[in-house]
């Protein structure tokens, strides 16, 4: 391929390339991926925008420090295999992170081009390279010689998979224990097909397995085994806990146990993991009405709202029956919405309605305990609290009833109580999160590391991957140090 020599000014004059999307009217009725990805030509053209800054601010913004400048350079030279190889030096799941990372607040937020115009579309380029790699990969896997050390990883979400892959690359023998019947954690049960196709997740997990990682499914930590047993009976040298924050939080309001009230976790698990959107071909049912309220405004709320909209679309008979309505009910205002900007836009384009400064106070039910409505109160933002956030305050006398037949609670999640059964001795916060040294993921128990949502509470996929990576580096160093110590000991006679 011929090298294009452009001046900085010329590069800066190239407009950022938009991602082709499925038409909102069409996509509101299907579970196929919304963002269609760049083609080679667009990717190459977008890559030309990168100024190849010497100080690479973009890399500082990436939680796993992908060598962004180098992979974009390889892409520009047309060497896609090399570009993929460069990304994989640091990122074991690039097709996932390229899709679900909030790039606007990470790598792309630091891009020099973003200071005056629009940042290089780093996420889209990463996704393009990773997708190409999944189709063409020859998998030239380079691994360190076997160390004979065994590491157990609990949980196969982004933190666990990243930690496992990095350790396997260092020559350790790694086994992952997963409670569900498919690996991937939130990538499989939480994030919907239209945002992250499960085929992509499966291929990325397969890549991790090709690195030599053994994945045990249907193994529930705390029930089938404990961390103590892994270390002292099963002969593992170290354990990494990446069990996530999977315990849903419900509001303590009347009617919360009514028929038609789901946690977002249940709703999304039924649809994504169990393929409830293909009922009755798949057995798992999902009951969705026509007027749905999703409470909360994080990424999980957006996923639930957009899934609900699609489920309504699938069930519509098209004979002029009442149009389904999906409302996102959030107690703060638009500015405070924690979801990714792009997800909010996509939800709005698809027809999700947003009720800001609104808080539910009661779920109304009929005699059969089925949801008939949600009594809400209007809110206003008060004075900033200690954390600097303006907390919402009820407006007296502003109560009204939202006529809904389905309510999905997406108020966040906490660490699963089974985590404490798996590792009773590991120190935890009052909320149940595992306490670690943030720089390396060490818990107060020797030989036990933790990372991802189980430490931070519900956060992002990439921050979990970053935590898995830091822990893997520390576990590797620790195992090698331990080996040195052992070799100094006199041999038993």
């Amino acid at each position: 391929m011929t090298e294009v020599n452009l001046t900085v000014k010329e590069r800066m004059s190239i407009p950022r390339h938009e991602m082709p999307l499925q038409n909102p009217v069409v996509r509101a009725h299907n579970f196929s991926e919304v963002a269609l990805g760049y083609d080679l030509e667009t990717a190459m053209a977008e890559a030309e925008r990168c100024l190849q800054c010497k100080n690479t601010p973009c890399i500082q913004g990436c939680p796993v420090q992908v060598p962004i400048n180098r992979f974009i350079m390889a892409l520009r030279a047309g060497d896609l295999a090399k570009a993929a190889q460069i990304i994989k030096e640091k990122n074991n799941l690039p097709a996932v992170s390229g899709r679900v990372c909030p790039q606007e607040s990470q790598c792309e937020s630091r891009c020099t081009l973003g200071l005056k115009g629009r940042a290089v579309a780093i996420g889209r380029l990463e996704r393009f390279v990773a997708d190409w790699d999944l189709q063409h990969s020859q998998d030239q896997i380079e691994k360190a010689p076997a160390t004979g050390k065994r590491v157990a990883v609990i949980g196969s979400g982004p933190a666990g998979l990243t930690c496992a892959a990095d350790l396997a690359r260092q020559g350790h023998s790694v086994e992952v224990f997963e409670a569900l019947h498919e690996p991937g954690g939130v990538l499989i049960y939480g994030i919907p097909e239209f945002r992250l196709p499960k085929e992509i997740v499966r291929k990325e997990v397969a890549y991790v397995e090709r690195l030599g990682v053994k994945v045990h499914l249907d193994c529930v930590a705390g029930k089938l085994y404990t961390v103590d047993e892994l270390l002292h009976e099963q002969g593992f040298d170290a354990v990494f806990m990446g069990t996530g924050a999977g315990l849903p939080v419900f509001m303590n309001i009347p009617g919360i146990n009514a028929i038609g009230v789901y946690s977002a976790n249940e709703f999304l698990t039924r649809i994504n993991l169990m393929k409830g959107f293909r009922f009755p071909e798949y057995d798992t049912p999902v009951h969705v009405g026509k007027f749905i309220a999703v409470v909360g405004a994080g990424n999980v709320a957006m996923d639930a709202a957009r899934c609900a909209l699609r489920m309504c679309g699938l069930h519509q008979d098209g004979k002029g029956s009442q149009k389904p309505e999906v409302h996102v009910v959030y107690r703060r205002s638009r500015e405070e919405v924690p979801a990714r900007a792009e997800e909010v836009e996509h939800a709005e384009d698809e027809g999700v309605q947003f009720d800001f400064l609104t808080n539910p106070v009661e779920i109304l039910v009929n005699v059969s305990n089925v949801v008939t409505g949600m009594r809400c109160v209007r809110m206003q933002l008060g004075e900033p609290d200690a954390s600097g956030r303006r907390s919402p305050v009820e407006i007296p006398g502003s109560e009204f009833v939202l006529p809904v037949d389905t309510v999905i609670m997406a108020l966040g999640t906490r660490a699963n109580p089974l985590t404490s059964e798996a590792a009773p001795a590991v120190e935890r916060s009052p909320r149940g999160n595992i306490l670690v040294d943030a720089s390396n993921g060490r818990t107060d128990e020797p030989g036990v590391w933790a990372g991802g949502d189980v430490v931070t509470g519900a956060a992002t996929v990439i921050s979990a991957m970053g935590a898995g990576k830091r822990a893997a580096a520390d576990i590797d160093a620790w195992l090698r140090e331990k080996d040195k110590d052992n070799s100094r000991l006199p041999l038993a006679v």
Binding site: H29, N30, H181, K275, F279, P280, T284, P417
Partner: protein
């Protein structure tokens, strides 16, 4: 994949399966359950552990063929495999010497979970009464097995075709009225039976545990599908239970939440019936019918 070592038909609508699952057998305790998924397109269903053998490495489950998934499960034979088998889940029953006697009420398929609890209580030195109830004689199973692990077994059927003609609360009342200290009561069976057992026990002030068979998905505490209200608090049956203090359970919530998917359950059953109209359908044909029955999903660009 988990192999079915043995398959038996216990009653016209109840089957038993002994599954090769050494890891689970090693850890299983009375009161716990497993979640299984027969195949790729199947749902995850919870079943209480009816028995386990640590030496043989097996776990026994018993299920009533009430809907599509359990009927499909009932078609499996010895030697077949089950795709996923997860456990042991939930908290074990509290087994100890209670002093006085313990009374276990087992209704219908509830006989299965009561068996290992009775055995463990007997081993712990308790004087164990078991009241076994069913609609009719042909629905009673494991009578001999139960006899071997309790001190006194009282049988009753709704129609009097076996044992006494009464509901389980009748012998329960009599036992409670007898001048003996009751250390603990368990009631396991249909929700409505457990509710009435709790009502029966209430005036006698004896502690009673029930095992709630909520609708479950993952069984590990991540979704709250199985949530119940106990003592005014929301609890998850899969991790906080399945056994709870029966006197504190809000039965209205338990009974209502069982019906969450009744419409879809019927629909699945109809589809299954259509697939099984003729005597023999090969797997291929059944797969084709499955495809035909799926809701038409418009794809991108349609």
């Amino acid at each position: 994949m988990f192999k079915i070592i043995e398959k038996q038909s216990l009653t016209p609508n109840t089957d038993l399966m002994i599954i090769d699952a050494p890891e689970i057998a090693r850890k299983a305790a009375p009161g716990q359950f497993v979640i299984l998924r027969k195949d790729e397109t199947c749902e995850r269903i919870p079943l209480t552990i009816a028995d386990f053998d640590r030496e043989q490495g097996t776990v026994t489950v018993i299920f009533q063929k009430v809907g599509k998934s359990t009927r499909e499960l009932g078609e499996l034979k010895s030697g077949d495999v089950i795709r996923n088998f997860v456990g042991p889940l939930g908290k074990p029953s509290t087994i100890k010497m209670y002093g006085g006697r313990v009374i276990l009420v087992a209704g219908g398929v509830g006989i299965a979970p009561v068996y290992p609890i009775a055995r463990a209580l007997k081993d712990a030195g308790n004087y164990v009464y078991v009241i076994m109830g069913a609609r009719s004689a042909d629905l009673i199973f494991w009578e001999d097995k139960m006899n071997a692990v309790c001190d006194e077994l009282i049988l009753c059927t709704d129609d009097g075709s076996r044992g006494r003609k009464c509901v389980v609360t009748e012998p329960l009342t009599e036992l409670l009225e007898a001048p003996w200290i009751t250390g603990h009561v368990w009631a396991i069976g249909p929700a409505i039976m457990m509710k009435f057992c709790c009502k029966t026990v209430e005036p006698f002030d004896a502690p009673i545990d029930v095992s709630l068979d909520s609708i479950m998905v993952d069984g590990t505490g991540m979704c709250g599908a199985c949530r119940v209200e106990v003592d005014g608090q929301m609890r998850f049956a899969c991790v906080d239970g399945p056994e709870f203090d029966g006197s504190k359970v809000n039965w209205d919530v338990v009974l209502a939440r069982k019906k969450v998917f009744s419409q879809e359950e019927q629909e699945a059953m109809q589809v299954w019936n259509r697939e099984h109209q003729s005597e023999h359908i090969c797997n291929l044909e059944s797969a084709v019918r499955r495809q035909e029955n799926r809701r038409v999903l418009p794809l991108a660009g349609d």
